[in-house]
Symmetry: C2
Subunit: 356 residues, 2 copies
C-alpha cells in the first residue's frame, strides 16, 4: 500500500534525498567508507558543508553580508541563543502560538520582553494586526508558521527594528526577502533534513553587539568564523540537507515550491470548506500553507475516530490533530506530492458520501 506521510515533523522528505543518503552511508563520495564513519575534517565532507551553505544562499537569494550555518540542538536551543546574541535590554515577541510562546518565555531570562498578541490571550486563530512596534527594543521576534494551530505569516513584514524569524516549518516553502531580517533560524526537520540539524541565516553586522558574555557554543560568531566546523557538525543530517537543497534546485527552486504549496493547500482548503462533514479551524488570509488544520462539523463530531481509522486504512499517516486543537492536521510540506493531497480529498469525499 502506498503511504501518504502527513506528519507535522519530522516528516516527508524528497525520496531522492533519502536515497542519496543511503548511498553515502554505503560509500561516501568514493572514499570506500560510510558517511557515518568519515572524518568531518576530510576534504570530501568539507565540500559538503561548503556546498550546503552556498546552495542555501543561492536558493533563498541571500544577499552579501549574511552567513548560513548548521548547528545542533534544534530550534529550541535558538530560543536561548537569539537573546544571548542580540538582546541587551529589551525585545519584542509576536506571540502567535505554542512555539512563539516558548521563544518568548525563554527571552524573559535575558531582559524585558514586550509581547504582542491577540486579545483574548491564547487566541491563535489569526496573526495579530494593528500593533505598534516599540522602536527602543533590540529586536522583534516572529514565528512565521504556527505548526500547531495552522496560521502563517505570508509576507516579509516591514519592521523598524532588527527582525528575527523562526522559520522552522516554512523555510524554503516560499521566496523570502532575507534583507528584511537580521536572523532566520529553524530546526531542519520539516522542509530540509532529518532531525538533528538547525540552520541559521545571520547578518554578519548584527553579531557582536551585546554587553554580556556568551558561552562559546552559543555564540553565532564561533560558528560563522569556522564555517559550521568549530566542533563536529551533525554529519548525516547536513548531508541529507544538501541533497534536499539540490532537489529543490532541480525541481525549479523556491518559487516552484511556493507554486506547488499554494496549489496543494488550495485543493485541500477548498475541499474542507465544501465538504459537509468538516470545517477548517482557521479562516481567511492567515491560513497556513504548511499545516492545514480541520475538525468535524458539530453534528458529525462523533465520527472523528472513525474518520481517522478510515484514512489510516488507506495509508494516510500523521493526520491526527495536535492535542491543543483536536481533529485533524494535514502537513503539506515541500516534499509532499499533490497526489497525496488528492488522495486525502478523495477519501474525504468518499466518507462524506457514506455519512452525510
Amino acid at each position: 500500500m502506498k503511504i501518504h506521510n502527513f506528519y507535522a515533523g519530522p516528516c516527508i522528505l524528497p525520496q531522492e534525498a533519502i536515497d542519496e543518503t543511503i548511498s553515502a552511508l554505503k560509500d561516501f563520495a568514493g572514499t570506500g567508507i560510510s558517511l557515518a564513519s568519515v572524518s568531518h575534517r576530510s576534504k570530501e565532507f568539507d565540500a559538503v558543508m561548503l556546498e550546503a551553505e552556498t546552495l542555501f544562499k543561492e536558493l533563498l537569494d541571500i544577499p552579501e553580508g549574511y552567513r548560513v550555518i548548521f548547528l545542533g540542538g534544534g530550534a529550541s536551543l535558538q530560543f536561548a541563543m537569539v537573546p544571548f546574541n542580540l538582546m541587551n535590554k529589551k525585545a519584542v515577541y509576536l506571540n502567535t502560538g505554542v512555539w512563539a510562546g516558548k521563544a518568548l518565555k525563554e527571552a524573559t531570562l535575558f531582559g524585558e520582553v514586550v509581547e504582542i498578541a491577540n486579545a483574548p490571550a491564547g487566541d491563535f486563530s489569526q496573526i495579530p494586526t494593528n500593533f505598534t512596534i516599540p522602536t527602543d527594543a533590540d529586536y522583534m521576534h516572529i514565528t512565521t508558521n504556527n505548526t500547531i494551530y495552522g496560521t502563517e505569516i505570508h509576507r516579509d513584514i516591514d519592521c523598524p527594528i532588527p527582525l528575527v524569524a523562526d522559520m522552522s516549518s516554512d523555510i524554503l516553502s516560499r521566496p523570502v526577502d532575507v534583507k528584511k531580517y537580521v536572523l532566520i533560524y529553524g530546526g531542519a526537520q520539516k522542509n530540509l533534513a532529518p532531525a538533528g540539524v538547525t540552520f541559521v541565516i545571520v547578518k554578519e553586522a548584527a553579531m557582536g553587539k551585546v554587553n554580556h558574555k556568551i558561552p562559546t557554543m552559543l555564540n553565532y560568531l564561533t560558528h560563522t568564523k569556522e564555517g559550521s566546523m568549530f566542533n563536529t557538525p551533525p554529519v548525516i543530517p547536513v548531508y541529507t540537507a544538501l541533497q534536499t537543497l539540490k532537489w529543490i534546485k532541480k525541481e525549479g527552486g523556491v518559487k516552484e515550491m511556493y507554486r506547488r504549496n499554494l496549489e496543494k493547500a488550495t485543493l485541500l482548503y477548498n475541499e474542507i470548506d465544501r465538504n459537509k462533514l468538516f470545517k477548517a479551524t482557521i479562516q481567511g488570509e492567515d491560513r497556513s500553507l504548511m499545516n492545514i488544520c480541520f475538525v468535524m462539523n458539530e453534528e458529525f463530531v462523533s465520527l472523528e475516530k472513525e474518520f481517522l481509522k478510515f484514512v489510516e486504512e488507506r495509508g494516510m499517516i500523521g493526520l491526527k490533530g495536535h492535542r491543543n486543537v483536536g481533529g485533524f492536521r494535514a502537513s503539506t510540506y515541500n516534499a509532499l506530492p499533490k497526489e497525496s493531497v488528492q488522495a486525502l480529498v478523495d477519501v474525504m469525499q468518499e466518507f462524506e458520501k457514506m455519512k452525510a
Copy 2:
C-alpha cells in the same frame, strides 16, 4: 581494496549498526516510511529512545538513581552545560589536553576554576599525579581520554567532591564504576554513533542545586523529565547508537570490548617500541588504548610523508597525526577489528625492512 579506518572521530562504527541504519532509512520498523521521515512522537521511535536508555544502563551497569539522556550540540555544548547545572562558585579541572582545556576555559565564564596540570604548563605527556583536590569546590572535571596527545585515565578515581567526566572518546571501551561520578558525558561520534548526538549519564540527586537560572535547553532536568524528548531529538544518530549498543551486547559487552582494546593496543605499542623507525610519544601507564600516537625516530624523520603515502596506498586512512603532535595517530576504537591493527603492524615491518 579493503579500507582500514583509523580516523580519530567521526570514525569506524560496527558495520551492523550502519547496515541496520540503512535498512531503517528504507523502511523503519515496518512503518513503510523512512527513519528520516518518521515522527519522533510515533510509538515506533518512542521504543527506540527507551531501549537506547535501557541498554546503555545495562551495558555500563549504571546504578539506580541515574538517567541517560541523548542531546544535540556535541560535547562542546556540555562544556557550558556542566557549569550551568553544577557550579555555584568554584570547580576543579584536571587539564590533560586540548579538550580538557576547552572545558576548563568555558567554566571560567561561570565562576572560579582551579586548574590541576603538569608542570611545565602544556605538558600533556602524562596524567598529573600527586595533586590535592580542594574539597570546597562544587565538582571536579576530568577528560578521561586525551584524543590528541594519546593519554588516558584508566581507572575511576576516588574523588572527595562530585566527579564529572568527559568520556567522549572512551565511553563503552572499558567497564566504568559509574557510582563514582555524578555526570559522564560525551559526543557519541567515537565508540557509539555518527556525529550529531551527545550522551549524558547524570545522577538525579546532583541536579537542581544551583542558585542561578539555567536556559531551558541547557538544563539537564528539562531532558531527564521528558526522556530526551523535550524537543525533537537527533533521530538517525540515536537510532544508530542503539544499533551499536546492541552490537556491543551481542559481542560480549563492555568487558569484551576492553579485552579487545587492550589486545589491539598492546599489539601496536609493542611494534612501535620494537620497530627501529618509530617511537611512541607517550610512555608508561597513561598510554591511551583509543588513540595511539607515534612519530618517526629522529634519524628517520624525513621519511614521514613517504610512510603516510605508503600506508594510504595500502588502504589505511586517518593515520596522520594531529597537528599539535605531528607524526601518526592510530585510533583503535571498539569497532576497529584486530585485523586492521595487524595490517598496520605488517606495513610498519615492511617499511622497516626497506628503510632501516
